[in-house]
C-alpha cells in the first residue's frame, strides 16, 4: 500500500463551489465566460436574469465570481437561500425579506457602505437580521427591506444574486422568485433556477410574465469532433485540475481523457479524477494510470445509468447531435435536469445541440 500521508485528491473538492476569498487562485476563467456576461447585464439597474444549467456545471461558483466583479461598481449582495431558509416547506414572506436584509447588511459591511443609525436601529429593533429571527409582520418586513434598499441605492446601485432556489420544488421556486422580483424593482437581480423551469412548459411563465432574461450555463465543449472549441474546453478543465493538485501533476493523457469523459461538466471531471486517485491508492500507486480512470468511468457510468427510465436510451440515441426538439418535452426536461442529456453551444451552429452524456457510452 502506498504510504500516502497527503491525499492530493482532497484538493479536487468536486462538490464545493469555490470560496473566492480563500481559493480565488484556483479559479480558471471558463470558455463560456458566464460570470462576465452576467456582470455586463447586471451592471444596468433593473435588469433581472435567471441563470440555469446542468447539475455540477459551476453555477454557484460563477455567481460568486459575478458578485465579486460587480462589487467594484455596485453593492453586490449574494445570498444562498437554501442555507438561509428551510426550502422543504413554503417560507413566509417575512422570512424571505429577512434573508434579503441579512444579505444586504452583510454586503454593506463588506463593501463599507454605510447604513444610517436610525435605519440600523430599526433593523436591530425588529430583530430581522439576527439569528434566531424574530417574526415580524409582512408589512413591517417589506417596509424595512424597502427602506434598506432605498438607502443603499442612494450610495451605489444594488445587485442581488440569489443562489439555491433550484433546490426548492418548481412551484415554491416560482413563488419565491415572484416575491424577489417584486422586491427588486429598480435594482438588478440574478436568480439560479432549475433547468426544469426554464426548458419545460413553465418557461413562458418564468421568462415572460416575470420579465426575466434567461442565461444558460452550458457545459464546455470537449468532444474533439468540434475542433478548436474542444481544445479550449479541455484546456480549461486541465488547468483547473493543475491548480487544485499543485505539485501532484497528473499525466496529460489522464487529464485529457477525464475531460472528454466528463462531457465538459466540471464537477464530473473533478469526481472522475478523485475516483481515479482512490483506485490508484487501492492498487498501491501514488498516481492514477489509465486503468484507474477506466475504473472511475465504469463507476460513473453505473451511477448515470441508474438514473435512466424505460425508453430513455432510445430518446438519448435519437437526440445525438441534434437540437433535441424531437425528444418529447417531458423527457427532454428531465434528461437535461439529470445531466443525462447535455446541451452545448457549438461555434457555427445556430441553435444549441444536445448530446447524451459521454459516460453513458451510447
Amino acid at each position: 500500500m502506498a504510504a500516502q500521508v497527503t491525499r492530493p485528491w482532497i484538493r479536487l473538492d468536486p462538490l464545493r463551489p469555490l470560496d473566492l476569498e480563500v481559493d480565488g487562485a484556483l479559479y480558471v476563467d471558463p470558455p463560456h465566460g458566464i460570470a462576465k456576461r452576467l456582470t455586463r447585464f447586471l451592471e444596468h439597474p433593473g435588469e433581472h436574469v435567471v441563470l440555469w444549467g446542468a447539475v455540477g456545471s459551476g453555477k454557484s461558483t460563477e455567481l460568486r465570481v459575478a458578485a465579486r466583479l460587480l462589487s467594484t461598481a455596485t453593492l453586490a449582495a449574494l445570498m444562498a437561500l437554501d442555507l438561509e431558509l428551510d426550502l422543504s416547506s413554503e417560507p413566509q414572506a417575512w422570512e424571505i425579506q429577512a434573508s434579503l436584509c441579512r444579505a444586504l447588511v452583510r454586503a454593506a459591511e463588506r463593501q463599507e457602505v454605510p447604513i444610517s443609525q436610525p435605519l440600523g436601529d430599526r433593523l436591530a429593533k425588529a430583530g430581522l437580521i439576527e439569528r434566531p429571527r424574530t417574526q415580524v409582520s409582512t408589512q413591517a418586513s417589506r417596509e424595512l427591506t424597502g427602506d434598506l434598499m432605498s438607502e443603499l441605492c442612494s450610495h451605489r446601485p444594488v445587485t442581488l444574486l440569489v443562489d439555491g432556489l433550484e433546490k426548492a420544488t418548481p412551484a415554491r421556486a416560482m413563488s419565491i422568485t415572484r416575491s424577489l422580483v417584486e422586491t427588486a424593482r429598480g435594482t438588478s437581480l440574478a436568480v439560479v433556477l432549475s433547468p426544469a423551469l426554464l426548458t419545460g412548459p413553465d418557461a413562458y411563465e418564468v421568462l415572460q410574465n416575470l420579465n426575466l432574461r434567461s442565461m444558460a450555463l452550458r457545459p464546455a465543449v470537449v468532444d474533439p469532433r468540434h475542433g478548436a472549441q474542444a481544445e479550449e474546453g479541455q484546456a480549461w478543465l486541465r488547468e483547473m485540475a493543475r491548480r487544485r493538485l499543485g505539485p501532484h501533476a497528473l499525466p496529460e493523457s489522464i487529464l485529457g481523457e477525464a475531460a472528454r469523459s466528463s462531457g465538459g461538466v466540471p464537477r464530473t471531471f473533478l469526481q472522475l479524477l478523485r475516483d481515479a486517485y482512490t483506485s490508484a491508492e487501492f492498487a498501491d500507486r501514488d498516481t492514477p494510470e489509465g486503468s484507474d480512470l477506466l475504473q472511475a468511468r465504469r463507476e460513473h457510468r453505473a451511477s448515470l445509468r441508474r438514473l435512466l427510465a424505460p425508453g430513455d436510451l432510445d430518446c438519448l440515441k435519437s437526440a445525438l447531435g441534434t437540437s433535441g426538439v424531437e425528444i418529447p418535452v417531458e423527457a427532454r426536461v428531465r434528461l437535461l435536469a439529470q445531466g443525462l442529456l447535455l446541451e452545448y453551444e457549438v461555434a457555427g451552429a445556430s441553435d444549441p445541440i444536445v448530446e447524451p452524456h459521454p459516460l453513458l457510452d451510447l
Binding site: 500500500m1 455540477g56 442555507l83 426548492a168 478523485r274 492498487a283 463507476e299 451511477s303 439529470q338
Partner: protein, 182 residues
C-alpha cells in the same frame, strides 16, 4: 493487493474524502450485517460511526461518520429531505453514507433529485451483495496474511497486528470472509 469487490469499493469510499456516498444492498436480510460492516469501516481511533434513521442527525454531527439507514418505506422521503439540504452536507468533516435498497424507493426518488444524485455520482455506489468466490478468496487471504481470516481477525483485534493501511485493508477482507463463511 486485491480484495473482494464490495470491500475494494468500500475501502475507497472511506478514503475518498467525499461528504456523502451511497451504498446499495440487494438482499433485505443482509441490511443489518452491512450496517455493522460500515460502522466498523468508518470508525476511527478517536471516533465511532453513528447509525441513524434521522436526516436531522446528518445535518449536525459533522465530525462523526454517519450511516443513514432508514426503512425502505421511508427511503423516498429521506432522499427528498436530504436533497433540499444537500449543500449543508458540505459542512461535514466526516462522511455520511446512505444505505439504500437496490431498486428500492430511495433510488427511484434519487432519479428525481438530480443534484443529490450528482453528489453521489461515482462515489462508490456499491453492490455489496456482489458474488465472490469465497473459497478462492480465503486461500488468497491466507497466502497474503499468513493466517485464516478468523485467526487473523482475532490477532488484529487483540492488537497483535499493527494498525497500518495494509492491515486495514486485510481487516476488511477478513471481515467479509468471516461473514461469508459463517
Amino acid at each position: 493487493m486485491t480484495a473482494p469487490g464490495p470491500y475494494a469499493a468500500l475501502w475507497r469510499l472511506s478514503r475518498a474524502g467525499t461528504p456523502v456516498a451511497l451504498v446499495l444492498y440487494r438482499d433485505p436480510s443482509s441490511r443489518e450485517d452491512w450496517i455493522e460492516v460500515l460502522r466498523e469501516l468508518l470508525a476511527g481511533p478517536d471516533h465511532e460511526a453513528k447509525v441513524t434513521a434521522e436526516v436531522s442527525e446528518v445535518l449536525g454531527n459533522v465530525d462523526l461518520p454517519i450511516i443513514l439507514a432508514v426503512d425502505p418505506e421511508q427511503e423516498a422521503e429521506c432522499i427528498g429531505r436530504l436533497s433540499v439540504a444537500r449543500d449543508r452536507l458540505l459542512e461535514r468533516r466526516r462522511p455520511v453514507v446512505l444505505l439504500l435498497q437496490q431498486d428500492g424507493p430511495g433510488l427511484r426518488r434519487l432519479r428525481q433529485e438530480a443534484a443529490l444524485a450528482s453528489f453521489v455520482q461515482g462515489s462508490p455506489e456499491v453492490d455489496v451483495d456482489e458474488e465472490v468466490d469465497v473459497e478462492s478468496e480465503r486461500t488468497d487471504f491466507q497466502k497474503v496474511a499468513g493466517f485464516p481470516p478468523e485467526e487473523w481477525l482475532s490477532r488484529y483485534r487483540s492488537g497483535d497486528i499493527d494498525d497500518t493501511l495494509d492491515s486495514a485493508l486485510l481487516y476488511l477482507r477478513a471481515l467479509f470472509l468471516e461473514r461469508e463463511s459463517s
